[in-house]
Amino acid sequence: MTAVDIAGAIASGQVTAAEVAQAHLDRIAAVDDKLHAFLHVDVDGALAAAAAVDAARAAGEPLGPLAGVPLALKDVFTQQDVPTTCGSKILEGWRPPYDSTVVRRLRAAGVVILGKTNMDEFAMGSSTENSAYGPTRNPWDLERVPGGSSGGSSAAVASYLAPLGIGTDTGGSIRQPAAVTGIVGVKPTYGGVSRYGLVAFSSSLDQAGPLGRTVLDAALLHETIAGHDPMDSTSIDTPVPPVVEAARRADIRGLRVGVVKEFAGEGYQPGVEARFRDAVALLAELGAEIVEVSCPSFGYALPAYYLIAPSECSSNLARFDGMRYGLRVGDDGTASVEEVMASTRAAGFGPEVKRRIMLGTYALSSGYYDAYYGQAQKVRTLITRDFDAAFGTVDVLVSPTTPTTAFKIGERADDPMAMYLADLCTIPSNLAGNAALSLPCGLADEDGLPVGLQIMAPTLADDRVYRVAAAVEAEQVRRRGHLLIEEAPAL
């Protein structure tokens, strides 16, 4: 069932929210030992939230469009009194004293938060292997990664542990996991969803967004969490783009679609390129006008990102010092505060986080600042200009979401550069801040694994990515008779 179906069944009294929550909790208990999508399952909290929805319905109160629908929340959002680890040992056992804005809005909408999902430590990674609590597995093939960093949420939604998930996307961490697990994932325009209570990795790039099995489900979740928040000074104070209306419209006749020339060729799996070509052909059949577009600076997005994001992370993660919350190591009464901080951080952070903190410290150090961080910021300007130029001639841009299907667990674990390539096509939209979505577009011939189509739209035109995705999804369902995710093997 989709989130829309579930909400409808609850609203009409066919089923109670408590029954829906219990069914999902039962499925988590039955199969999540195979996947490890959840780090913490909040049984009591979920059942209480569901009971509140049932009570509201019984009292005749109006229910929102997602009231009673269960959700898997990435463990990077604070939720009051519920463990929040960010996949790190440094926050093991920490229970935040406040709700993030995303959680507050989910609660207000009657969404039932089932628990917190696994992730690469502090959202740094593309496979969820960097979690201090062990990897999550891809429901399509348990030997493979579910993408990352929001891999717990993608695995949960793809395996029907929850109809909806929340992720965060700093360089592709919603779209890439959605692509390799065969579901829909959206990075809203930067500033569209509040970052208050989202533990910061790279503040100028981090953006929360929805994961779902259908475009309309993702749109409803997007609308639920989006909107201006005075608690986040980078939150945009304009109306939320009409994403739900766009997902229902699903008509792209006359729309101009640009195919990004640079995102093809060496490094792209043949099966990914084949499914992408099919998707472009489908867009043309649906009445879109297809144009090839060149974005010459996109080739420098990956190196620019791996200077900007580590620089911001080296600063942001300085807060984990073992003084006010989280782990403290080596405080024996004789060690200085600096020694305790260094011991705590050495014990609490995993290898990828240490690597990025040092890379960022290097890029920001005097003598290197202009050549690395400063130059990367200029490249960021050029990438934004490439988008501006492209969106002067086309309405949306498309590319594969990620160059390959899900890779095997361990395959890229000790080769950071190979891992970083997973985000090649997604990073430009983080640097420029515009909206982007990943939609399943078929299975690769060579491995039978899902391939993602990325749709990118200008800043604040989030509705456009939903409109295009909904049109493609409707046609895929018409031809196949079902959603692609329904072809995933049973667990």
Binding site: P96, S343, R345, T361, R380, G433
Partner: protein
């Protein structure tokens, strides 16, 4: 440019307050060398006259009205502290002993 020594990695680790082992320093020195060699490609871009972008949303001086709003109680703020005393965070010594 784009070459990093083990000593530099040790210095970075000190700056970042990471107490790394000798093995970790060796490991990160070789990995960071590869990563920095790769990201140094940004230098190929002719960008002398290009303004830097620090942030994709051009916002400056976002202000709010100066009104009192509820905050955390001392008990809530200290609830996750590794050590607390007298409604304060208790920290290791910050000065060398006399």
């Amino acid at each position: 440019m784009a070459s990093i020594t083990r000593d530099e990695v040790a210095h970075l680790a000190h700056l970042a307050r990471l107490d790394l082992t000798a093995d970790e320093l060796d490991h990160y020195a070789s990995q960071l060398d590869v990563i920095i060699g790769s990201v140094a490609r940004v230098a190929e871009v002719a960008a002398q006259d290009i303004p830097p972008t620090s942030h994709s949303v051009p916002l400056t001086n976002v202000l709010r009205d100066d009104v009192t709003t509820p905050g955390l109680t001392p008990q809530q703020a200290l609830a996750g502290a590794p050590a607390a005393e007298d409604d304060r965070f208790r920290v290791p010594r910050i000065l060398d002993e006399e």
